[in-house]
């Protein structure tokens, strides 16, 4: 086993308040423009506002994570886009419900 120690690293918080461009999103998630547009058409993510030129679209930072998850679900589970969009929505709902149950249980 090789062990490497790397000193203090600061990363960037991927969050709702910081925006990413259409191109950056393609790059971070390793998807083509066509694939990303398809995902947007299925409602997996939404641009902050729709410009005539797609490449001018801006997205919130957390879209990176959502697209990466969508790609993994499609690749690993063989789901089509419509199914992936549904799966993500259901997963959101499950997460929210679990949080509610957790806080109720601890009371």
């Amino acid at each position: 086993m090789k062990n490497e120690i790397i000193s203090l690293l600061s990363g960037v918080i991927v969050e709702e308040d910081s925006n990413v461009s259409f191109n950056k999103l393609c790059h971070c998630c390793c998807v083509s423009e066509e694939q990303l547009i398809s995902m947007i058409e299925h409602g997996i993510i939404e641009p902050l506002d729709t410009h005539v030129i797609t490449t001018y679209w801006q997205f919130t930072g957390d879209c990176i994570i959502r697209i990466q998850t969508a790609v993994r679900l499609q690749q690993d589970l063989g789901i089509n886009l419509a199914g992936t969009a549904l799966a993500l929505e259901l997963l959101d709902e499950i997460k929210s419900l679990r949080q509610q149950v957790n806080s109720l249980q601890r009371d």
């Binding site: 086993m1 090789k2 790397i6 960037v12 918080i13 694939q35 589970l77 601890r106």
Partner: protein
């Protein structure tokens, strides 16, 4: 090296048809997929299932594996494939509809089938020139989100060594946890993911933040809440008391006639994100276990005086 019983991993019999194998894989892939599963060790199981499927779905590999298995008895420790065991078998590296990431397969697999050096030509992989992104979870305390912190994180990755065999590489990263981070947020560390196989840039490392459960606070998004025990006299007469917050002790004024369950809010004292959350206090009146004689008689006097107050009026009794 451990022998892996792929049939057992997939929960199917040795006589299973290709269709049954595919069905079993799909069911298990859904069950253990890390994005979906709540099972412990989901990712490990997912990789194992993927590896088993990779072998069993391909009639050539399956036949070779079955022949090998015939000579191995359960309970034998250690395993070495005989030197010419694959004589007569041809392995074609085909692509599959169900894309499985072969990079993480076990020593057992690679000793039998060698390394897959051709990447999968699935539609997503074709666009990938930089290394794989990695994802990891980091557990922090609520106080770390308030003050910022540094965290030491050890990552284990499987890489191809100089001889083409997979080896485990450990890296220890010291990560700065920024102040104001929320649960579920990711920190993106550029270039800290897997190196590229095609001389491109390394992938990114995404660290997902999760909070350790706290002994006294509950967290929801950026809001933090506390159940605050108070005495009956503090509740009735009001009081100025000191309360704990993750940022330190704070004075709180309890108004007179505060009932159990009353919620109070300290604005902006939740997690200091870009928009700071709030700190909520829920009052809970607690009674002392025992009363002295004098205390008891005081209570009885109060009972006489306050006899007009009927909390059960609305119940009709």
């Amino acid at each position: 090296m451990q022998y892996k019983d792929y049939y057992k991993i997939m929960g199917i019999g040795k006589e299973a048809s290709q269709a049954e194998i595919k069905r079993a894989y799909r069911k298990l892939a859904r069950k253990y997929h890390p994005d979906v599963s709540k099972e412990k060790n989901a990712e490990e199981n997912f990789k194992e299932v993927g590896e088993a499927y990779e072998v069993l779905k391909d009639p050539e590999k399956r036949a070779a594996y079955d022949q090998l298995g015939a000579n191995w008895k359960a309970g034998q420790s250690g395993f070495q494939p005989p030197p010419d065991w694959d004589a007569g078998f041809e392995f074609h590296s085909g692509t599959s509809g169900d894309n499985v990431n072969a990079a993480d397969f076990s020593d057992f697999f690679s000793s039998l089938f060698g390394q897959r050096t051709d990447g999968f030509q699935g539609s997503y992989q074709a666009h990938r020139t930089r290394g794989e992104d990695s994802h990891a979870k980091v557990f922090i305390d609520l106080e770390d989100a308030y003050h910022g912190a540094s965290r030491s994180l050890t990552l284990r990755t499987t890489v191809l060594g100089a001889d083409g065999r997979p080896e485990i590489k450990t890296r220890t990263l010291n990560i700065k946890i920024p102040k104001g981070i929320k649960e579920g947020q990711n920190i993106r560390l550029q270039g800290q993911g897997s190196p590229s196989t095609a001389d491109g840039k390394a992938g990114d490392l995404y660290l997902k933040i999760e909070f350790n459960p706290h002994s006294i606070y509950k967290v929801k998004g950026v809001d933090v809440s506390l159940e605050l025990p108070i005495t009956p006299w503090e509740a009735m007469l009001g009081a100025n008391i000191q309360i704990p917050t993750p940022a330190g002790k704070v004075d709180l004024k309890i108004p007179p006639a505060s009932s159990s369950g009353k919620r109070m809010r300290l604005k902006g004292r939740g997690i200091p994100a870009k928009v700071a959350g709030d700190f909520y206090i829920t009052l809970e009146i607690v009674l002392p276990d025992k009363l002295s004689e004098k205390e008891k008689s005081l209570y009885q006097a109060l009972q006489q005086e306050a006899g007009h107050f009927n909390p059960r009026e609305k119940l009709g009794v």
